[in-house]
Amino acid sequence: MPRVSFAAPTTVDEAVKVLASASGLAKVLSGGTDLLVQLRSGRVKPDLIVDTKRIPGLIGIREEGGFFIVGAATPGVMLSGNAALEHAWPGIVEGADLIGSQQIQGRASLAGNLCNASPAADSVPAVIAARTVAVIAGPGGRREAPVESICTGPGRTSLAKGELIVEFKIPKPKPHQCDAYLRFIPRTEMDIAVVGCGINVTLDGSGTCTDARVVLGAVAPTAVIVEDAAKALIGHKLDAPTLAALDAAAQQASKPISDKRGTIEYRTKVAGVLARRTATIAFERAAAR
């Protein structure tokens, strides 16, 4: 591994300054579960690594003004350990919890998973489905952006030089609103998602869907918000024709590649399968909330 500089700022402003003024390639380090793998393999050769974990607020979960505020560098174990978040958005917690092993969970963060911008990132679909907003600090000050605007392609984000995500604002769910996340992998653990699906639904008293967001992962260069899938759910109960329409919409929206993890044909079919299974769980949970 090439020699590299290291900084561990203790405020957001300091982090922004260090990132903005870096002369070469600067990478943010939260959990390091992607960065260190890439460093070791030579895929990424940064000149500077900026550890954000010493900045107060970047690790932690709090409730404020109708939102869950999750620090950007909060590790997965903290998400799955937060009973309120797990009850409100089990799909988000599941998605994050599925990243790697228990050891990875001790480090991996939502911001890291998002900004690594793998099309198959497990925490991203449910986070987008919940209409989460990312709070970004940069040389121009703070700004907010919907999470779906962050990834622009595999390995690429819309963050400008000097910018970093500080926290995520997840809106608290309404009554009878809940989510689910499922992924398909060949083993039972430790694989990158071949397909991932996050669904957020709101039901009325009769079990009819009044709002929905369906997001697919690993079937396109970035996570896909499937409008037609949402339309298939809204105004309906989860009966056989609705499931069939949902399946078809999910398959339609899938534009995957064939690689060592799955073929185009396979990913497309499984997108439909997962959409049905994820919706079933989301509906059950929403009805119970």
């Binding site: 398909f184 060949p186 653990e189 069939a244 399946d247 060592k260 079919k269």
Partner: protein, 762 residues
């Protein structure tokens, strides 16, 4: 000469292994844990091309980097003529081994070592690699075995002519050799058959997957004395191979066995040691070289992938009258696939009168294959055992009953020559029939598969010494690296022979200068052959102990008995003496003639083959093609379980590897012949949550040629699982998978072809 199990006091029990505490507290020293003062770090530069001529290598910039002390290439190794040496588990040609360790003239696979560097830190060595300039002329490459056999395939070696075909070919080929085994009259056999089925199966190369990457620390002194610390399956092999590749005498090398973090056959040859020695010689300092996981995948031998064509002819009542097998195994960059054993094992479980087997050893632009647990057999058995299952289904005969009907027994002559004696195959089939697993109910999308397996097991050369210490404890020095707990069994057998408690026997694995020649740890030979040597050494010591007691009592040695670790006068006439314990005699040894020790070197004959029958239950998710292993029972004839826990462990480990081979493991190459998945993320071995408990059932049909009846156990367990899983999937969803791995996308596609999907509703 087998003792009855009631009479044994230590053999058959489950004591804690003597190296156990060191291993659970992290103190045990593996290959990469050693340091030598002044050592440098060595790193290997590897070809990024699957096939290329090496036009030039310029290391000037690398040598100029501060901290770099030496660079070596093929020019630093002596030219070796082609020479066969059966030293490892499988054929080995020293010239090929040398060229595999360091490419000469041509890079033959993505990952092939082309140069190496030694520097004062690992990071400087890495930086130096980038500064070595290699000029390649990229050549067309070939990966797939049948593509490599085609007439117009890119040729790897222009001096490779197919052996085993007449007339002798004049054109070079990628087909290194053709072999065959025959029994009876195959044409007549098929003519007499009432049903014939013919099928084609394929498998992919899979890696042994040991968690410890290859590592060594070596030092070459100015007078040429070499010290090698490495983890391997045979330090005598390391010594011999390095001597050959470096062109030095064997006595100049002392190889020390580090603890080894898994081998499964993949560490029965050398990769790093010769290169590290060359660097050490040039730099004048010790060298440490450790492979990364990526290097392990790109640069070390997996086992072959292959094509398996099976044709079975049977009577309607299930008797198999004719069996034909054609195997095409890919050997990687140099000849030497395990197609021979693959041929020999294919039908070994069965008594079939007419058999014709053909095998091809084929090179292609992939890493040179290395042995992997019962090399060759899992591949051919996947085909044969699947085909036997397909035959059973066609005939509507229970798969266990079909095997019972055709089972090899004592007196069955194999297609490859030997006649079986003291085998336990039928016993494993009977045990399977009677096992409660066969009665467990299956639900929707669940199925059960049966498969059998065979492996020869070998004996071979082993040395061992038994030293009695002054306080009556014993030290056993043997030369077999312990890959699975064997040193515990050595201590147990010695304790049994000496008649003392296990706790008073300490086993040690001696380096090449401290114990006699011992063939490597492989072929399921250690408990059999080294166990035999250890037992014989202990028995020689007992003879000497009796002689010393006789001296003390001033009677004839014939009048002394040895029982439970004590000398007794044999009967009234011998004299009325109190028994002498081993400790008593040891204390007096200086006055009765000196140290009490015996060393034995043998070439153990009479290894008993291993047979197994496995039962596997799966559940298939038809929408995703995901397969879950619900339950697995592995029944095996183990001869005698010296330490039952470690025998069970061998069975369970082999099963898990077979399941990975069946479901998800494979090498993925891109169109440039570069390996796409050189890591544990995308080379998918079973993880904890993928596996159920594995029930090992040990059937004991003792081998009378071993002092305690042991047969080799380590390799048979990996032979049946792939077919067991495939047969279970066929039972569950009616889909026959003939191409490994049976990964979800392939299973889903096969299911869709069988039942074209409608738009499904939950």
């Amino acid at each position: 000469m087998t003792s009855s199990s009631e009479g044994l006091k230590v053999v058959g029990t489950r004591p804690v292994r003597p190296d156990g505490v060191d291993k659970v507290i992290g103190r045990a020293n593996f290959g990469a844990d050693m340091v030598m003062p002044g050592m440098l770090w060595g790193k290997m530069k590897r070809s990024p091309h699957a096939h290329a001529r090496i036009k030039s290598i310029n290391a000037a910039k690398a040598l100029a980097l501060p901290g770099v002390k030496a660079v070596v290439t093929a020019a630093d190794f002596p030219d070796i003529a082609s020479e066969e040496a059966f030293m490892g588990e499988g054929p080995m040609n020293f010239r090929d081994l040398s060229r595999n360790c360091m490419a000469k003239d041509k890079a033959l696979y993505d990952g092939h070592a082309v140069a190496a560097v030694a520097a004062t830190s690992a990071s400087i060595a890495e930086e130096a690699l980038d500064l070595i300039e290699v000029e390649y002329e990229v050549l067309p490459h070939v990966i797939d075995v049948e593509a490599a056999m085609a007439d117009n395939a890119p040729l790897l070696h222009d001096d490779l002519f197919t052996q085993g075909v007449e007339p002798k070919p004049t054109k070079p080929s990628n087909i290194a050799k053709k072999i065959g085994f025959n029994k009876g009259d195959i044409a007549a056999g098929f003519a007499a058959a009432e049903i014939i089925i013919e099928r084609r199966y394929t498998t992919q190369p899979v890696h042994q997957g040991y968690i410890e990457p290859h590592a060594c620390v070596v030092a070459v002194a100015p007078d040429g004395q070499c010290t090698i610390w490495s983890s391997s399956q045979g330090h005598f092999m390391v010594r011999a191979y390095c001597a050959k590749l470096l062109g030095t005498e064997i006595a100049n090398i002392r190889a020390m066995p580090a603890e080894i973090g898994g081998g499964f056959g993949g560490k029965t040859l050398v990769y790093l040691e010769p290169v590290a020695l060359a660097l050490s010689k040039k730099a004048g300092r010790p060298i440490k070289m450790v492979m990364s996981r990526e290097e392990v995948f790109r640069g070390t031998g997996p086992t072959s992938g292959g094509v398996v064509e099976v044709k079975l002819g049977a009577k309607k009542d299930g008797h198999i009258v004719a069996a034909q097998l054609a195997l095409k195994y890919q050997a990687g960059a140099f000849p030497g696939s395990p197609v021979g054993p693959g041929c020999m094992c294919g039908f070994a479980m069965y008594d079939i009168p007419n058999v014709a087997i053909t095998g091809y050893d084929v090179v292609s632009n992939r890493p040179k294959v290395a042995a992997y647990r019962a090399p060759g057999a899992p591949i051919s058995s996947f085909g044969v055992e699947s085909c036997v299952d397909e035959l059973a289904r066609e005939l509507k005969i229970d798969p266990l009953r079909l095997r019972e009907m055709n089972a090899a027994k004592d007196g069955t002559k194999t297609a490859h020559g030997p006649t079986f004696v003291n085998i336990g195959y039928l016993q494993t089939v009977e045990a399977a029939k009677n096992h409660p697993h066969m009665k467990a109910k299956l639900g929707p999308n669940q199925g059960r598969g049966i498969a059998s397996g065979f492996w020869f097991n070998i004996g071979g050369e082993s040395s061992a010494a038994c030293h009695i210490n002054e306080d009556g404890t014993a030290t056993i020095v043997e030369g077999s690296p312990d890959i699975g707990g064997s040193r515990a069994s050595m201590a147990m057998m010695a304790a049994e022979a000496l008649g003392i408690s296990y706790e008073r026997v300490r086993p040690v694995i001696g380096d090449t200068s401290s114990v006699g020649f011992t063939f490597l740890t492989g072929g399921s030979r250690v408990t059999f052959a080294t166990g035999m040597a250890v037992t014989q050494a202990a028995e020689k010591v007992v003879v000497e102990l009796k002689r010393r007691a006789a001296m003390i009592w001033d009677i004839s040695p014939e009048a002394v008995e040895w029982k439970d670790g004590m000398a007794f006068p044999a009967g009234q006439n011998a004299g009325n003496f109190d028994p002498l314990s081993l400790a008593d005699i040891a204390l007096k040894s200086g006055r009765t003639g000196g140290p009490i020790s015996a060393e034995v070197s043998i070439n153990a004959q009479g290894a008993g083959p291993g047979f197994a029958t496995h039962i596997c239950d799966v559940e298939v998710d038809p929408e995703t093609g995901h397969v879950k292993i619900l339950r697995y029972t592995a029944i095996q004839d183990v001869g005698r379980a010296i330490h039952p826990s470690y025998v069970e462990g061998q069975i369970q480990g082999g099963v898990a590897q077979g399941i990975g081979w069946a479901l998800n493991e494979e090498y993925v190459y891109d169109k440039n012949g570069r390996l796409d998945n050189p890591g544990f993320l995308d080379y998918r071995m079973p993880v904890c949550s993928d596996m159920p408990m594995i029930e090992p059932v040990m059937v004991e049909v003792p081998n009378p040629r071993h002092p305690f009846g042991a047969k080799g156990v380590g390799e048979v367990p990996i032979v049946p699982p792939m077919a067991a899983v495939a047969n279970a999937i066929a039972d569950a969803v009616g889909t026959r998978m003939r191409d490994l791995p049976m990964s979800p996308p392939k299973l889903r596609a096969a299911l869709d072809e069988q039942n074209p999907p409608r738009m499904a509703a939950e």
